[in-house]
């Protein structure tokens, strides 16, 4: 599928081997095209730091409330507001994160500031939260940590303008304010979420070869599916156990199951999404293995006790003599 992707060829069927200069021209034109579209976009919308330079129009000075931002940007950049309102940030009322949360309450440095990871980390649990930590220990996170001081943060979030992606580079790629577009909403189910992968695939290809990205995504999906299998296996056992034992007897096992689904499976997802081998593995799959076997152990112990105490229990076997 994406193996066939190649703008040099795909754009007009130009044979790459025969006519390099034409292909090169295409590639340059294409980049120029993207930049032109972006410039036009920022010109008309008034969003982004470069807009004012292009339009020779300074953004209004002073402090603004979130209501002020929306009133004005509803006119100047309606798409941006719409995208934000579709996202987990802007969907609820009041919004979880609004313009001021990430951009501050003045236009001064508003864009640059919001592109830095720090604005995200403050709300997303801090440095030790798996969401943040899985990224921070990835190669992307490491490169960013070491080099971010030297980067020009006024660059738009596209075209590999940054050597490694920060939170915003991927989740607000090309300034798309629907941060949820590339995030799975339901960790247990894949249906209707193909577009999520597509959104992110496009981002990765700023730097990585199309086939590499495809293979990585397929592998990540398979890895996540195996995690789901473990959770479903545990869920099935627990469902059966609920018909046999009281909620009090199952308290510890229920708690473990909740942690399995909400923490350890999520770690696999974060490990895949943020490319952290440690979250895919040690915080992910072996942790799920431990949950599964301990859930089995917990239910098994109750079953043993019942056989010992209840002489009428039917699920018994002779002592193996071992």
């Amino acid at each position: 599928m994406l193996d066939g992707y190649d703008p040099c060829v795909a754009s007009d069927g130009l044979s790459r081997g025969k006519n390099l200069s034409a292909a090169r021209a295409m590639s340059i034109l294409q980049r120029a095209g993207v930049n032109a579209v972006f410039m036009l976009l920022v010109f008309f919308t008034g969003a982004g730091g470069t807009a004012w330079a292009a339009g020779d129009d300074q953004p209004p000075a002073g402090e603004f409330s979130n209501g002020d931002c929306i009133r004005c940007h509803r006119k100047t950049s309606p798409d941006l507001i719409d995208a934000w309102q579709q996202s987990a940030h802007g969907k609820s009322k009041p919004a979880v994160a609004n313009c001021v949360t990430c951009h501050g309450n003045t236009h001064q440095g508003a864009t640059k500031k919001a592109r830095r990871n720090s604005v995200c980390i403050d709300c997303h649990g801090g440095e030790k939260d798996p969401v943040v930590h899985s990224y921070a220990t990835s190669k992307h996170g490491i490169i960013l940590r070491l080099e971010q001081k030297e980067w020009d943060w006024s660059q738009p979030l596209e075209q590999a303008n940054y050597r490694a992606p920060g939170c915003a580079y991927c989740h607000l790629h090309q300034g798309n304010h629907n941060v949820s577009a590339g995030v799975r909403q339901d960790i247990m189910h894949t249906t209707k979420q193909e577009d999520v992968a597509e959104v992110m695939r496009a981002v990765c290809q700023d730097c990585h070869a199309p086939r590499y990205v495809t293979r990585l995504f397929e592998n990540g999906e398979a890895m996540l599916n195996i995690g789901r299998m473990k959770v479903r296996e545990a869920a099935g056992l627990l469902q059966q156990a609920r018909t046999e034992f009281s909620p009090e007897e199952l308290t510890a096992t229920e708690q473990r199951f909740n942690k399995m689904r909400s923490h350890h499976l999520k770690n696999v997802l974060l490990g895949v999404g943020h490319q952290s081998p440690d979250y895919q593995w040690w915080h992910g799959h072996p942790a799920l293995d431990g949950d599964l076997l301990r859930i089995k152990g917990g239910i098994g112990e109750l079953k043993r006790l019942r056989v010992i105490t209840d002489k009428t229990a039917d699920e018994v076997v002779r002592q193996t003599g071992r």
Binding site: M26, D206, P277
Partner: protein, 451 residues
């Protein structure tokens, strides 16, 4: 009669002469399957393995035809993957008198590209490559042997391959140089920073990041490191505090694990063998760049002591488990739990793996909870304590030992429950069957079919 013994001498000699080449043939045969490593005939690789173990699995893209010069690669990839080209432009490869182009490492035939292995980098960087390969003679733990270590691990072979991809991602440090010198900048300075190591050297079994950053060395680095000149070689006087690379790759030597005495903390070692004394002297030399030699020796002796204490705790737990096994009190027993898919011997002679030498590395799945407790005590708490001791983070040592104490208590308590239940069951002659719970289930059955 006189000549008979002489004649019989030939029997073992002939057997040996046949057995030795037969052994080589068998090992070669077992390595020639669809996978890689000793168990290659028992598994199929994921497509993505091409990028972690290129020697074994890389296959060139076929979507583009033709051969290209370096400048042509750059021209087109500026559009396809601008990040790669930007990185290359900022690297020394693009600035050297004779530029190192894409085609120099990847080849110029687009249908026959390769992913550069250390051998390719070694074409120019012969010193570093030679040192890196030389690390193999020190045995495990090792960067140069890391891929073999992963591929030949039974739990890697036993698990569905999509599940264990992350193993190869880190163990690819043996098969690609960009684990430390990230592509396509390939910067030596980046690899000198401790952060360059922590994508792999973090997490429960090897909290190198946490322990180093919490140490005085790490604290100094965190406070002042951003102002140090990282272009300087890893030599005495160049850095105010040591980093991972300063100690483990002193003077830039790429034999990273050449001084490994305690073997990752994974099994008990005699730290005072003559071989380990040589390594100890080398450690003292490293520490002596800043500290007094005697003082350094004392610190290393403290590490010996910490290891001894850790193993006393681990062996205490191991005894509890082995006693349970001897008395048939583990539940489920080995024959009642899912077998490891490729362990054909385990199918005929099922046994519970307790302790390093019995293959406890696989004891994190398909085992009873008490065995998993011991696995975590050994692989997480113990290894964490070791890293804390080695990197001078006393709080982490205390945390690890406290956790081991807690686990030991929990294991003893759980063992009592197992014994009580087991004895009651014996007394009444009835026992709940574990098979339904342990042998069935979506993942369990999938794992039996897919590995």
């Amino acid at each position: 009669m006189k000549h008979k013994p002489v004649r019989y001498v030939w029997v073992p000699i002939v057997i040996a002469l046949l057995a030795i080449p037969a052994g080589f043939v068998y090992v070669n045969w077992s390595k020639s399957g669809s996978g890689a490593g000793l168990y290659s005939r028992q598994w199929l690789p994921q497509a993505v393995f091409a990028y972690w173990d290129p020697d074994d699995f890389y296959d060139s893209v076929q979507t583009m035809k033709g051969t290209f010069k370096g400048k042509e690669c750059v021209a087109c990839h500026e559009g396809v993957t601008p990040g790669i080209v930007k990185d290359w432009r900022a690297s020394r490869h693009s600035q050297a008198g004779k530029k190192v182009y894409c085609s120099d490492c990847h080849g110029n035939d687009h249908q026959n590209l390769h992913l550069p292995t250390p051998d390719v980098c070694g074409g120019c960087h012969a010193t570093q490559h030679g040192q890196f390969q030389d690390e193999k003679r020190y045995g495990f733990p090792s960067h140069a042997l890391a891929m073999e270590r992963a591929l030949d691990a039974k739990h890697f072979v036993d698990k569905p391959k999509a599940e264990v991809t992350a193993c190869l991602q880190c163990h690819s440090v043996a098969t690609k140089c960009d684990s430390c010198h990230t592509r396509h900048r390939f910067n030596a300075a980046e690899a000198r920073r401790p952060e360059g190591c922590i994508t792999c050297h973090s997490g429960p079994p090897h909290p190198d990041d946490e322990t180093y950053f919490a140490s005085k060395h790490g604290q100094l680095y965190l406070k002042e490191g951003q102002d140090w000149d990282w272009s300087k070689p890893l030599q005495k006087g160049n850095y105010k505090a040591p980093t991972c690379a300063y100690c483990h790759m002193r003077n830039g030597k790429h034999q990273v694990a050449d001084k490994s005495i305690w073997k990752f903390g994974i099994r008990q070692v005699n730290p005072l063998t003559s071989n380990n004394e040589v390594k100890r002297d080398q450690w003292v030399k490293v520490c002596s760049d800043c500290h007094e030699a005697d003082w350094s020796r004392q610190r290393l002796a403290e590490l010996d002591k910490e290891r001894k204490q850790a193993w006393q705790k681990l062996y205490a737990a191991e005894r509890v488990l082995k006693d349970l096994r001897a008395d048939g009190m583990l539940y489920p027993a080995a024959e009642e739990r899912p077998p490891y898919p490729n362990d054909w011997m385990g199918r005929y002679l099922p046994y519970e793996r307790i302790g390093f030498f019995e293959g406890q590395a696989s004891a994190f799945f398909n085992v009873s909870p008490i065995e998993r407790d011991y696995f975590e005590m050994w692989y997480f708490d113990n290894l964490g304590a070791y890293k804390g001791a080695a990197h001078a983070d006393p709080a982490f040592v205390a945390k690890g030992h406290a956790a081991m104490e807690r686990k030991l208590t929990a294991i003893r308590r759980a063992a009592n429950v197992l014994r009580t239940l087991g004895e009651e069951e014996k007394a009444i002659g009835r026992r709940a069957a574990p098979q339904e719970l342990w042998l069935k289930g979506e993942y369990t059955e999938y794992n039996r079919e897919h590995n």
